[in-house]
């Protein structure tokens, strides 16, 4: 496909090209990895996302250096805003950090692979079907993975529930322990205000086979976004009961909650 290299030449700055030369990606001879990541597509979308990150959402990041320079890592964040904008912002922040940039992978809803064009595009950008096997295989290949343990409970929540963390699944903790991967907690502030939803039409969502059908103004508001990355958390591998796993998950959740509060405190105004 000649379109991607052409777009790369047109849109990608020399600075971003230099940045990407420092990132090692385990891709095949044609630039793909097993999950469909394509380096050309990834860098082009990052280049196109630059003004959105810098000018539209005016993203502030604190503590991005807490993500390890290499090796497996789970970046665990709160999820919000109906669309996975928070995942793209975290990915952009990490891919463009000055020292030791990385291309992280984001776990996405099971619904996306069934959507024509969008599913493939997300895969080429680096998103991966949220399946424990995928996560385990990627940690085995020393990837940094963005995880939203709230899943659709978080992204689909209504405006009145903003910044209230929903239940965290335990899956990410099991994977972190199995692969001895540090967990970097992230508090995302601002995405809750990008697409405020006042209600969810659950029967319509069920009929369409989508996770939720929000009643919201079809516009993405330019809320100011603050990303706070916490210190990496290490959990000893080994056989423990599910209750003990849940307690560890609660520790991560509490840290994410603390980072959200920090971001809310730092935020001067919503827009």
């Amino acid at each position: 496909m000649k379109l991607r290299p052409l777009l790369r030449r047109i849109f990608v700055s020399e600075e971003l090209e230099r940045q990407y030369t420092n990132i090692a990606k385990p891709v095949g001879t044609l630039g793909y990895d097993p999950w469909g990541l394509n380096v050309d597509t990834n860098i082009v979308t990052m280049a196109l996302f630059k003004p959105i990150f810098e000018k539209y959402f005016r993203v502030e990041t604190h503590g991005i250096e807490n993500i390890p320079a290499s090796g497996p890592a789970l970046i665990v964040a709160n999820h919000s805003g109906q669309l996975p904008i928070d995942g793209v912002l975290i990915a952009y922040a990490l891919a463009t950090r000055k020292v030791n940039p990385r291309i992280p992978r984001a776990m996405i809803e099971r619904f996306f692979p069934t959507v024509p064009y969008i599913g493939n595009l997300l895969n080429q950008m680096g998103a991966v079907l949220g399946d424990p096997v995928n996560c385990a295989k990627m940690l085995g290949r020393e990837e940094a993975i963005i995880v939203f343990p709230e899943g659709v409970r978080g992204s689909g929540k209504l405006y009145r529930d903003r910044y209230q963390l929903k239940r965290f699944g335990n899956g990410f903790m099991h994977l972190a322990m199995q692969h001895n991967a540090p967990i970097v907690p992230v508090g995302v502030v601002g995405c809750e205000e990008t697409i405020p939803a006042i209600a969810n039409i659950a029967p319509l969502a069920k009929m369409l086979g989508i996770p939720y059908a929000p009643i919201a103004i079809p516009f993405i508001f330019p809320a100011k976004v603050i990303l706070n990355f916490g210190e990496p958390l290490h959990f000893e591998p080994g056989e423990i009961t599910e209750d003990e796993v849940s307690k560890r998950v609660d520790k991560v959740k509490a840290e994410v909650s603390r980072l959200i509060d920090k971001g809310l405190h730092e935020r001067k105004r919503v827009f």
Binding site: Y32, G36, P113, T114, N120, N123, Q124, L129, V133, K137
Partner: protein
């Protein structure tokens, strides 16, 4: 002295001998082994040193081959692919025929059996993880009854694998085998000028060159222990539509939603290379992890994806 050495060559039975893969395998083995070639489609002549039979495994006379020769190993490549014949004939050949062959292997104390399966057994669905390993469930049968013979053949092989460990059964699940003379669905597509694609879907795929696949089979036969099930794939991946571009194919998009639409179109077109029961393999990825095979047998494929695709490009330019 030379004549005595020739007599002591171990004897191998290769089924599906008229196929391109079998002939590549035989070419590599005939030096070290006495190869007996069998195919139900035709009697192939592969030289005076290769006894060749045209017979169906299900026929009574098939056992005479085991009586006449001192066979020590069997390479079962004679599998009807999904686009061949009808479901009943495929079941008879692939499942019942393989059952008989495995029974004979047990009866005649065969020491090594290789069974060629396919990555299709994993099934193509939206929730497939990538790098599927050998322990994953075989979900092809839930998609379509047209692939049930492939899954049943594997079940059968598994039963014999634990019941008769002396047979040293190795089941190989390769990704798309492509290259010169290969007549499977994927090779037919890559050879074609015009290729259907499902609009909006370009699943990741893996390809292995026929010569690399032949080397993989030879590696198994030369290493008699290591029974079990192995994926066979290279450490390289490409999206289906990009593979077509690289083979100079012209893509013909087919309306892909709702799922019934491409099924109706495929039924109408009656394309051998794009059958309705394989549509999901052009929609969702089935990416297998070949690491276990590569590390167990020290296997390193020689052909890159670009070399594979250049064969199909040149094929079109020669026409």
């Amino acid at each position: 002295m030379a004549a005595r050495r020739k007599k002591t060559k171990p004897e191998l039975l290769v089924t599906g001998a008229a196929g391109a893969l079998a002939q590549q395998v035989i070419a590599r083995l005939r030096e070290k082994y006495k190869v007996i070639a069998v195919d139900f489609r035709e009697q192939v002549y592969l030289g005076d040193d290769v006894p060749s039979y045209r017979i169906d495994v299900n026929k009574r006379g098939f056992e005479d081959i085991f009586r006449k020769h001192n066979i020590t190993g069997v390479i079962h490549l004679g599998r009807m692919i999904a686009s061949e014949e009808n479901r009943m004939r495929r079941y008879n050949s692939n499942v019942l025929g393989s059952h008989r062959l495995l029974d004979l292997c047990h009866k005649y104390h065969i020491q090594k059996v290789i069974i060629l399966s396919t990555y299709h057994v994993y099934g193509a669905n939206a929730y497939n993880p990538a790098l599927i390993d050998e322990g994953a469930p075989l979900k092809a049968a839930e998609l379509t009854m047209d692939l049930i013979d492939s899954v049943e053949l594997e079940n059968l092989a598994n039963i014999y694998l634990w019941k008769y460990p002396d047979l040293n059964i190795t089941v190989l699940r390769p990704c798309n085998i492509v290259g010169p003379e290969v007549r499977n669905t994927m090779s037919l597509l890559l050879s074609s000028k015009y290729c259907p694609v499902l609009a909006g879907f370009s699943p990741m795929m893996q390809f292995i060159h026929i010569e690399d696949m032949a080397e993989a089979i030879v590696a198994v036969i030369n290493s008699r222990d290591h029974r079990g099930i192995y994926n066979v794939a290279t450490e390289d991946w490409v999206a289906y539509q990009e593979a077509l571009d690289r083979c100079d194919c012209v893509k013909i998009p087919i309306w892909s939603v709702p799922p019934i639409a491409p099924r109706l179109i495929s039924n109408m077109l009656q394309l051998k290379s794009f059958p309705p029961y394989l549509l999901n393999y052009f929609k969702y990825p089935v990416i297998i992890d070949g690491q276990l095979f590569r590390s167990t047998f020290g296997f390193t494929p020689k052909y890159s994806l670009d070399e594979i695709f250049s064969y199909y490009r040149n094929l079109k330019r020669r026409r």
